[in-house]
Symmetry: C2
Subunit: 146 residues, 2 copies
DNA sequence: TCCAATTTGTAGCCTAGGCAAACTTTGATG
DNA sequence: CATCAAAGTTTGCCTAGGCTACAAATTGGA
């Protein structure tokens, strides 16, 4: 059962390597999703609100925004609020869809929504497409939760 | 500002804070579980094998082992192989049980075992007890997967 | 026994992501 | 329009967790 060399982009064979790669993008996704939420809810994304939501100090947000800017995911002028670039919006949208699915899945599994919300945040960045699809199928097949 | 900080700490921690805390212990758990595996499989845990399994350089293993030593989870003399302390064994045992359950759950969900193995590594560190129990129940209720 | 390959350790460097303290900018209010 | 609190930034520090390059110890084979 050696590999039939299906020319797909190589997914890391090593699970630990995969996890390390996931971690590298995970915080960025959380920030982007949060920024989009704040803009929708309150019209703008301010560092003070991001810090409160993330449970970190403002200075930590400043540094994180700097990285997001460097990577072309947000735009931000000093002392002004933060905006997503198109690329940032795309990532935020995918992150939100994934979060929504994982949350729905956990609830369908019977997990309390509050607990599901917390756990979803942890696991949503570590799902390969097949697992994601399996969760979606499970939600669809689920009879009304009694 | 009027509220004098109702100082709760146990439950409703911010999901992002929870994830940060999980990340702090996650690598240690992976190392401990791996070390135990290596000891069982080959009689001893050597840095070179740990490095290969984790997908990192040996120097990275040396540093990680140093942290585990500092935290009382392993013992290791220079140029000798690595052993788990009782506390380390306990953590490894719990980690392995969790891994096994998550893997079984994903497979029961219909995910291909190879994919499940990779995804399990990512998500097993982010499950609260209720979610864990829900997964166990799901496995039990599952009819034999044909 | 001795030597060379393997393995482990050390030194030094890097980025991410945290923090506190001090400073600057903004904007609301008299 | 002066002031001042809130918000944001800068500086400097820390740990975790990666890396390369090199040094030292161990071990197996001739």
């Amino acid at each position: 059962m050696s590999s039939p060399t299906h020319s797909k982009k190589e997914t890391p064979i090593n699970p630990f390597v995969r996890v390390r790669e996931d971690h590298a993008t995970e915080l960025a996704e959380d920030y982007l999703e949060l920024i989009e939420d704040l803009i929708e809810q309150s019209g703008e994304a301010r560092a003070v609100d991001i810090a409160a939501a993330m449970g970190v100090r403002q200075v930590t947000v400043t540094k994180a925004i700097g990285r997001l800017k460097r990577d072309g995911l947000v735009t931000a002028a000093p002392y002004r609020s933060i905006f997503l670039t198109d690329q940032g919006k795309q990532i935020a949208k995918r992150a939100r869809a994934r979060h929504h699915t994982v949350l729905g899945f956990l609830v369908a599994l019977g997990v309390d929504p509050e607990v599901a919300e917390i756990d979803a945040e942890g696991i949503e960045h570590h799902l390969s497409p097949p697992t994601f699809i399996a969760m979606q199928k499970f939600i669809e097949q689920q009879p009304a939760v009694a």
